[in-house]
Assembly symmetry: C2
């Protein structure tokens, strides 16, 4: 029934009364080889008639060129980031005809991660780390072993490597100014802890505050691990203080949304009594109430550019080490 009876180029050759080589020449449009039109026509017809499709595995073997690139991400990655970026990656690899192999980071495994195994066994030509944690040891390993990879993440990593990131932190001063222009006095920050997972968001906030001549009041800051319950607790605590903030920069979409939720549940009016701006995008920001202001990331482009960058590296071309993409402050109803 399911007899996937494989048609090979040999079959096509036989059918068309030519040699296997000729079939290959024609199908690959090999230059420096001129084929007589009628031969070509005959072969093409045989291809159609037999419904022949070249076996990419065999082809890949001969060519010694992996057909796929790996995209690795963490299991808990926020969906919206990833899918949009993936679309970009897809389009960015299209012309090189790489397929996308999806991989999840498994923290347990060190240097025997799936993607290393796959790379070593020729299944992957390179790797994109999309919103994935990537240890310095791993970067070291990848680099010394000459494995082409690029990291794509909103925030620029200080570790030296090929990366695509955004300038979204540079919009924080504009956020502060926005708050100030609306007459806000007590500007706070909520975001993830610990600091090593934090990627400079809080630092950038402090700097922006200083640049605006504002001191950072520890009482207006709340950090928490990335976990709904803990986040809720610390944010509620922050908002119930008698010297609570009247404006909040949220370090991530989840922090932003939970801040909003906490405020509303405490009967604080947003944006009247509390303004919120979030770092990062979500496709829900436009449809929560009130809609969420945010520094939005160029997710699609991040994917596209990282794919391009990886393709170049895979060809051995040197590339700029990092690309910084513009993000955008979108003011909605929450601020």
């Amino acid at each position: 029934m399911n007899e996937k009876k494989s048609i090979s180029s040999r079959d096509v050759a036989r059918e068309a009364g030519v040699s296997q080589a000729t079939v290959s020449y024609i199908l690959n449009d090999v230059k420096n080889v001129r084929i007589k039109p009628e031969t070509r026509a005959a072969v093409l017809e045989a291809v159609k008639k037999l419904n022949y499709h070249p076996d990419e595995i065999a082809r890949g073997m001969k060519l010694k060129k992996p057909m796929s690139i790996g995209v690795v991400t963490d299991r808990n990655v926020t969906n919206f980031y990833f899918m949009k970026t993936l679309e970009g990656i897809r389009d960015g690899t299209q012309k090189n005809d790489y397929s996308i192999t999806l991989l999840f980071n498994k923290p347990e495994e060190i240097a025997e991660a799936d993607y290393i195994r796959y790379y070593n066994s020729n299944r992957l030509g390179g790797i994109i780390f999309a919103f994935a944690s990537l240890s310095d040891e791993m970067v070291e390993y990848l680099t010394t072993n000459g494995i082409p990879f690029v990291k794509v993440d909103p925030v620029q990593s200080s570790t030296d490597m090929c990366q695509v990131c955004t300038d979204h932190l540079s919009h924080i001063p504009a956020v502060i100014k926005h708050f100030l222009s609306r007459g806000m006095k007590r500007i706070g920050y909520v975001g993830p802890s610990p600091l090593n997972e934090e990627h400079g968001r809080f630092e950038a906030f402090k700097e922006a505050m200083a640049d605006s001549g504002l001191a950072v009041d520890e009482g207006l800051i709340a950090t928490s691990p990335f976990n709904d319950e803990e986040m809720t607790v610390v944010i509620k605590k922050l908002l119930s203080s008698d010297k609570r903030p009247d404006a909040l920069l949220a370090g991530s979409p989840r922090f932003g949304l939970i801040s909003l939720r906490c405020a509303l549940s405490m009967k604080l009016k947003v944006p009247e009594q509390l303004k919120i701006v979030t770092l990062g995008s979500s496709n829900f920001f436009g449809i929560v109430y009130p809609s969420m202001s945010a520094v939005e990331l160029p997710l699609y482009d991040m994917g596209f550019r990282s794919a391009e960058m990886l393709s170049e590296r895979m060809k051995g071309n040197e590339m700029p080490r990092s690309i910084v993409l513009p993000s955008e402050l979108v003011i909605r109803d929450s601020s």
Copy 2:
């Protein structure tokens, strides 16, 4: 620099002073072949010393067994569904050591879709359609060509094919009862149109209403294409009617969230003046305010089971045509 100087099993054989076949036997743990322990040790050592990794492409070629399965989805699936399901798929394919090739449905292409090309060229052993539109013609094509595939979607398709779906529609009566028990009188429905993209949600609603002895009031129904603006317009219209619903079943997460937003923006109190329950999951349901009641889908399991099912089909084993997974009504603050 980047001289990926390939180590082959031949190199290992030479290094260990054995034949290539022996290396293969050892590495593949071939049964019916007993290897002397010291030979095995020598080979293993050579493997380690040379840092040898079998070339999976060559292996795949010999074995004529694709190494990957394709997961295709629509480009606009930016929702929570997909990633969770992917995780399940990942884990469900793990033991068969298939990798996951991600593909996007491109509506333009008919039978020359990427996944068909990939399948034909032996890059894919089978296909999972996850929350992807799948035309009857395509099902027909896949079936007649013996291409193993399974569809995974919350709703069971009436077209005959292998599918993994959920019983979430069967929770609608419980939703109605929940509304009634809270004293609600005017139960409405908002959801996607047109009806052919609708997958029986509205139908199920009508039936459930009838079963509870309730008539469906056309004035309590709103449908709209899947587009924030249009959805907002029709829902606002619905809610501003003087005979507006006091309870709403939303046909999708987006409809649910937009309903919530519309209600709040119109100063309707949720859940006091309007109760909402949504069909489908989102990782934001718990952190919007008020948190959203929903019939939650077993997303991870849906992925896992579909992967298992596909694996079986790829082995040629007959499987039940469809698996219905249990979903769960989760009452939160919006109802």
